[in-house]
Every structure is written in C-alpha cells, then in structure tokens.
C-alpha cells in the first residue's frame, strides 16, 4: 500500500507501483487538470509539485511518489497571482499546456522572486506550448512577480 498526500488530503494506492503519478492523478483521483502530453518528461504538460518542487508526473512512479506531498493545479488556492497574470495577459490559446506552465511558473517564483528573461527561459523551456504562447507566458511571469513583490 502506497500512501501519499495530494492537495493536503491523505490518499492510499494499492495498484501497480510502476504506474506514473500522472495516471493515478487523472484516472484514479479524478484530478484531470494535470495533462498528458508526451509521457517522457519532454513537454511539461503534466507538471505538479512534489514536496514543493516541480516534477513531471508522467515520469514519477507511484513507488517514487510514496510518502510525498503532491500539489496539483486543483490544489492551488485560486486565484493565485500567477493565474491572475495569465488571465490579464490573455495567455491561453487552446489551454491544454497551461496548467503545466502555471505549475512550473509558480515553482519558479517560489525560488526566484524576480527572474530575468533568461532565467524564465531556463525554467520554462521544458514546457512546450504547441500553440506558441511563450511571449505572453514570459510577460505574465514578470507581471506575477511584480504582483507578488
């Protein structure tokens, strides 16, 4: 039996310990805000926080998630300044990548209160947006940093 905390709630899991956290969150816990994009830690659509750090949930097995505290987009108290900045900058197109982008951006701003463009690029380049909203994402992160200061 694997135990973990998701968005502050204790959960247990008795299925295949190889199952990636992503599929546990989506199919078992019903938390579908975390998206599947590649399954290979290449796109960032599945980004969640594990013990406060951003991880690709498609590449963290339930075994490896045991005992950890997971935060998904549903566990972010809405509206977070990053979400507000996303709305103000009218970032999303299709929106599919955006929860992963937002989780990555929140994690960035937790460790770096005022990231430069280069630091944003560095932190966000694991998150693909096929619709191509990068310019607005960068602007929204700067805006959120200002709000949070």
């Amino acid at each position: 039996m694997i135990r973990l905390k998701v968005n502050g709630r204790e959960r247990s899991f008795s299925g295949d310990p190889d199952m990636p956290l992503l599929w546990y969150l989506r199919d078992t816990a019903g938390l579908t805000g975390t998206k599947f994009g590649c399954g290979m830690a290449l796109c960032g659509a599945c980004t969640v926080h594990k013990d406060g750090k951003p991880v690709r949930s498609c590449s963290v097995s339930m075994q490896a998630a045991a005992g950890s505290e997971i935060t998904t987009i549903e566990g972010i108290a809405a509206l977070h300044p990053v979400q507000k900045a996303w709305i103000a900058a009218r970032v999303p197109q299709c929106g599919y990548c955006q929860t992963g982008q937002i989780m990555q951006a929140i994690a960035l701003l937790q460790t770096n209160k005022h990231p430069t463009d280069a630091e944003i690029d560095q932190a966000m380049s694991g998150n693909i947006c096929r619709c191509g909203t990068y310019q607005r994402i960068r602007a929204a992160i700067h805006q959120a940093a200002k709000e949070m200061a």
Binding site: D27, T32, G37, Q93, S125, N127, I128, C129, R130, Y134
Partner: protein
C-alpha cells in the same frame, strides 16, 4: 429556461436555404466535398440562443474551440446584435447537428462563413424582445430601442430587462431576415473590441476546462491501440499472453483492417482494454503482433524524394496559365532556376487524439475533441453500419488540433470498441501514436524557373509542384493536387506577362491531411524564397523588388472556378501590408552586419493578406536565433483583435518549429519519429523572442486568422538567414543546410 419558441419556422427556413452559406467562395480540400453534403444553417434564434427569466443568455457555439477563438468569436457576434451584456452570456457547445450548417472548424473560415448568419440570429432575437416590450407597453415597436440587456421606450422612460421579456418574446413569430436592421459598424461594442477575451480562460488556468482527454463516463474502460506500423497492414498473428498478465488489463480486441481509400476509417490493429490508461499502455508494450504485407512497405523517404523531384521537373497539369512562358523562355536571355523541398510534418497538438464513446441500444453517444462533429457522426455511422441520426457527438474543448482533429478516425475507434465490449470506452493515443499515425502534411518538391529582363524583373515565370495530395485520403488513385492549387499556387499576384503554374503527380504512402495553412506552407516557401533569389540576382532590395513586381493596384484575374467573388485578390491590400511591415520593422534602416539579417515574405491565404519580417542572428556554430518578428495583416473585419495577435504570435512559433526542426520521414513504410525528442517543436528559448503584430483597420468582410500567419514565416526566416550568411536555404528544415 425559456427557449424563444417559434410558430412559423417553415417560411423562415426556406429563406435560409435560398441564400445558403456555401456560396461563400473557397471551400478547401475535400472540404469542398464535405460542404456539398452539409445543409445551410437554420437561421432561427430558437436554435441558437435562449434567455432565462433571470436574464442569463445562453448562446450556442457551433464551432469547435481548439485555441483559435471561434467558440468565443461567433457568440460575441450574436451578443452584439442581440445587444446583450456579455458578462451575462453563457456558452453552450453544440453537438453535431446539421441544423447548424457546416460545423467543420477548419480552413480559417469560422468567422468568415458564419459572421452574417450570427448577426442575423442576434438581430432577430433582439427584434422579438423589442416586439414583446412594445406589445406590453402598447406603443409602436419603432419607438423602442435597446441598451445592453434592456429594452427601453425613451419617450416614457420605461425599461424592461431581457429576462423579463423572454417568456413573451418566445411566443412571437421569428421575423423575416429582410425586416432585421443590423447595427451600424459605428455602434458595435464587442465586434473589434480590444477588451474581448476567450470565454474559457478562467477554467483553463484553474484546470477546470474539460478537454477530450478529460471526458469520463461511469463504467468506462480504457483502450490503447497498437496500429499497423505500415498503412494498409492487417494483423496476421497475435500473442497477447504477456499483455493480459499486466495488472489492470482486461482483454485485447483485434480491429478490422481498413479498406482503401482510408478516409477517416480507423486504422485497425489490436486494442488493449484496461481499467486505466497506464495499464492499457503497459499491456500494449507486451503484445507480440505479426502484420501482413502492404505495398506501402517500400516507402523510404530518401528514395521517394528523388521520384518526387523528378516528377516536379516534368510538365504537369496546368493550374493557371497567363501568356506563353515557353515562347518567352525560348527567346533565351537570362534564365534562373531553383528547386525547393519540404518534408512531411506531424501536427503534434499538445493533446493527442482521444475520444470516449458509449454504444447502447443501437445508438452511440460520443465525446470528443473534434473539429468536425458531423464528420464524426458520419464516420461512426459508416463504421457501425448505422444511421448518422443515431449517433450523437458532443464536442469537448480541443487541446490543439491544427487540422488533425478534423479527421475523426479516433472517435470511430472508441465507438467500434464500445459496441464490441458493451460498455463505454475511452481510446487514448500516446504521443508516439500521434506522431507515427498522423494524417501528415505532404512532403513537396517544387521547381521554379524565370526569365529576367535587363531591369532584373521576370518576363516569364514557371512554377511546378509535386506532392502526395490530400485527395489520396478519399481516392486511393489520386495523384494530383486539387484544392491545394487554390492555396498559394494558382494566385501569383505579380504583374508578369507570362506565367504558368503546374502540378505534377505523386503517389501517397501514408495518410495525408490538412495541417494549419496546408499547402500554403510549401507554396509560399517556394514562391517567396524564389522571388528573394531573383531580387538578389537583380541587386535590388527584396521589399522594393516585390512592390515593383506587384505592379499597379488591381484585382488579380483568376479563372472563374477559382475566383472568390466576395474576396477577390486585391494587390492594393497586399501592397499595404508590405509597406506597413516594412515601416514597423525599420526595414529601410536595417543593419547590414555579418551574422545578423532581416528577411521578408508576403502571402495571401484564407483571404487574409500577411507580410512578415523576421530578424535572425546566426551564431558562430550556425545556430539561428530569432530576436524579432513583425507581422502586418489585413483580415478584413476583426472580431477580437487581441486574439488575432495571439494567433499570429503563435504562428511565428509554429513557423519556427517547421522551419528549424520539423521533419517526418519513413523507412520501409514505418515513420521514423515518435515523440518530442526526435520530432522537436520550438520551446521558449528557441522561439522568436518578440513578435509584433499589426492589424490593418478594415471594413472588408471578415477573413481567416488561425492559419494565414504561418505561410510567410519560413520563407521570411530563410531569407533573413540569406541576408545574414549569404547561404540560400532551399530545403526545410533549415538544419539540412550548413550555415557555417
């Protein structure tokens, strides 16, 4: 909630049919065939909106939302003419239903095709609300007017809210379209407003938005399908023992192979059915399948390229002819030739294909991220030999699509499996499935030849293309482009006395489909690279040279069947976007230093004129950086300007992906790429840093905005690389050309 009820629908319907929307010019690809089967929409407010007693207006969005904004834009147009307060509007996504007319959200024609109809729908409902108020006040309707969400009688100062009037309005007949007085442009509050935002953004940023990947049904099982690696193969033998041993796997199902032409049919293969997505994926990896032979097993990209290029060098079918190029070439003088080559591309929308379907009592209900729910209905009906009317297709949000999700093979897979299993099924494609079993953008070879006079201007211009056509998806023997010709090939806008555009035959070995801006990608790449080459030979500034070739402002003459009467090719509008982008980018004063350069391209597609300047820096390793992009566009009337800018910024990123990286190849019929490590797309640190978009203020009919930003990007980028390095890029992706 009161639907506004209509008692005389019949007379009204006839009116709608008489002026069907499909006279609206270019229908693209097999879209033309599809549109012919699609009825005109029913222009009746009862179908499109409802008003609750509390004033909440619910408007039906009949187009799919894949990130281009159609779902928001058309209801905004309804709200405008209804004079509704947008903050009190809710959207309801339409199921597939022919009463909405064409619902195929592609070809950048959602707003262009439905703008007038949506205005009428809103205007009719507003007239009914006014009539209801006038009756209650016993005053002539002509003395009443509206303010947002309110009808008022100015003389007496009386007011009634839309919600208060809904029940009475619902009992009134729908007025004839001739009686509807639409708002003048000057009174628009929403159409063209900088404040417009996409309806779904709040749900998107909180993770509440429901995409196809998020659809679930009680009792649902999950399926992952091992498709035949080569098009046309079928299962020869299957060993599913170790797959069945995987925790959570329930069974496997062998699917019927397709019969050519493949159309939107499921590909066949072996489905692994499981309790969750992961178990289905894992079980699939343990399948041992042997496949039958397929003639497409001989498809090898390197070899195919030679055949394609050789076809493109030979005379083909004439798509457009002006004057006599052969006679002009025969005169001798300076002849310039160039060949261009672009590979297959995959869509790679962030959400891979996925669908949920439930077959029950002879009927199917499906939930899918589809661009075309009516095609999904038809495809499911054909696969299960049932009536289309017995198939309901709900449309979720689409996690990107770019044309892929106008082809509903994945939706039919879910329905077929649900019938076989007797329970709801969710079919989930992995990224590998998405890249390896796409409806690919065509590989293309293009051959260009011009005779140039003493002034450096072409006196004759010949262009030939060869590519496996989209028609091959619907007719296995098709070898020539059809509607592709109208996508940047038969409409060269230059004032050249002798011009011929041709298309040469090519075989298909994979499924070919529509990808954002379709054949405009390779056509614009060839034309806009070649004209840049001619400018260089002439020693002229590329923008000035193109302005010269464009000649006097005029309407470009096309053959009757290709002409688009509502949207003629207007070189004045083209000139304007060229001059605008040159001015905004500081083209005239651009720095001319080694390793840094600006490139220009202009292209009209989906009735929209776009000129783009790309600035590049090529570093000592030959790596290309893109600090700036400027795009100027004239898309006629615009509903949501900020969304248009977002579309064009996104097009610059997708343009970067296809110019720098995109390359799908096959070995023995099997696609070589599988995920983002070997089919890379632009990331934040590789994308243009800053894309500025300039929209021409225009009252012309609305044109497309989702696709037209893409075609000029790659040639502008490659022309910039030439300016920076002196290296001419004649093949995409650019990585194939050594820059240092």
């Amino acid at each position: 909630m009161n639907r506004i009820q209509n008692v005389s629908r019949r007379g009204f319907l006839q009116g709608a049919l008489a002026s069907g929307v499909f006279v609206l010019g270019v229908r693209l690809g097999a879209r033309r065939a599809w549109a012919a089967e699609t009825a005109a929409p029913l222009i009746d407010p009862n179908l499109w909106l409802s008003i609750a007693a509390d004033g909440t207006v619910t408007i039906t969005a009949h187009r799919s939302e894949m990130g281009c904004g159609s779902r928001t834009a058309l209801p905004l147009v309804v709200a405008e003419e209804l004079d509704a307060d947008w903050s009190r509007v809710k959207l309801e996504q339409a199921i597939g239903d022919q009463r909405y007319g064409d619902q195929d959200t592609d070809g950048s024609h959602s707003v262009a095709g439905s703008f007038d109809d949506m205005r009428l729908v809103g205007g009719m409902a507003r007239a009914m609300l006014i009539s209801a108020a006038a009756a209650q006040w016993q005053v002539p309707a002509s003395q009443c007017s509206t303010q947002p969400h309110v009808v008022l009688h100015a003389a007496s100062g009386r007011k009634l809210g839309f919600g208060e009037l809904a029940a009475a309005a619902a009992k009134l007949p729908v007025p004839a379209r001739e009686q509807i007085k639409l708002k003048p442009r000057s009174s628009w509050r929403y159409i063209g407003s900088e404040k417009n935002t996409l309806y779904d953004v709040p749900d998107i940023v909180t993770g509440k938005a429901v995409f196809g990947m998020d659809a679930t049904l009680p009792g649902m099982v999950y399926a992952s399908i091992e498709h035949p690696p080569v098009l046309g193969q079928a299962v020869k033998s299957l060993d599913n023992k170790s797959a069945l041993a995987v925790h959570g796997v329930r069974r496997t199902v062998v699917l019927d192979p397709l019969t050519p032409p493949h159309g939107f049919q499921p590909l066949g293969g072996v489905a692994v059915i499981a309790d969750n997505t992961w178990s289905a994926f894992k079980g699939r990896q343990r399948l041992k399948v042997e496949w039958t032979a397929s003639p497409h097993s001989a498809y090898n990209s390197a070899q195919y390229r030679k055949a394609l290029q050789s076809s493109s060098r030979n005379p083909g079918k004439v798509a457009r002819n002006v004057g006599d190029v052969d006679a002009e070439f025969a005169k001798g003088g300076k002849l310039i030739e160039a060949e261009y080559y672009t590979p297959h591309l995959a869509h790679a929308s962030m959400e891979p294909p996925v669908a949920v379907a439930d077959y029950r009592n002879g009927k199917v209900v499906a939930w899918a991220p589809t661009q075309n729910p009516q095609a999904a209905q038809a495809t499911i009906a054909a696969a299960l030999k049932m009536n289309k009317e017995d198939v309901t297709c709900h449309v979720t949000l689409l996690g990107g699509a770019f044309g892929r999700k106008s082809m509903p093979d994945h939706v039919a897979e879910a329905a077929v499996l649900s019938k076989q299993l007797g329970k709801p099924v969710k079919v989930v494609w992995s990224r590998e499935d998405d890249i390896r079993f796409d409806y690919y953008h065509s590989v293309a070879a293009l051959y260009m030849k011009a005779a140039v006079g003493a002034d450096g201007k072409p006196t004759a211009w010949l262009q030939r293309s060869a590519f496996p056509p989209i028609a091959s998806t619907f007719d296995a023997a098709a070898r020539y482009g059809d509607d592709e010709m109208a996508m940047g090939w038969n409409d060269l806008p230059y004032d050249i006395a002798h011009h011929r555009a041709e298309n040469s035959p090519a075989d298909h070995h994979v499924r070919i489909g529509w990808l954002r801006s379709v054949s405009n990608i390779y056509h614009a790449f060839a034309v806009q690279s070649f004209v840049d080459e001619l400018a260089a030979v002439a020693g002229k500034d590329p923008v000035a040279y193109q302005l010269e070739l464009l000649g006097a402002d005029r309407i470009v003459k096309l053959d009757g069947s290709d002409a688009d009467p509502l949207y003629p090719i207007d070189t004045g509008r083209m000139r304007h976007v060229m001059q605008l982008v040159a001015e905004k980018s500081g083209w005239a004063n651009r720095a001319k230093v080694k390793g840094r350069g600006m490139g220009f391209a202009v292209h009209r597609s989906f009735r929209t004129y776009v000129a783009t300047v790309v600035e590049v820096e090529v570093d000592a390793q030959g790596k290309v950086h893109i600090p700036n992009v400027w795009s100027a566009l004239d898309a006629g009337t615009i509903v949501s300007p900020d969304n248009v800018r977002n579309q064009f910024q996104g097009a610059a990123v997708m343009g970067t992906s296809l110019a720098l990286y995109g390359d799908i190849t096959a070995t023995d019929g099997v696609i070589d790429q599988s995920n983002f490590h070997n089919y890379p797309v632009a990331r934040m640190n590789q994308a243009p840093r800053n894309t500025q978009v300039y929209i021409v203020d225009s009252s012309a009919p609305p044109a497309g905005v989702g696709e037209p930003g893409l075609p000029p990007f790659a040639p502008a980028l490659c022309n910039a690389v030439f300016a920076a390095t002196g290296r001419r890029v004649r093949e995409l992706p650019l990585a194939k050309t050594k820059l240092v």
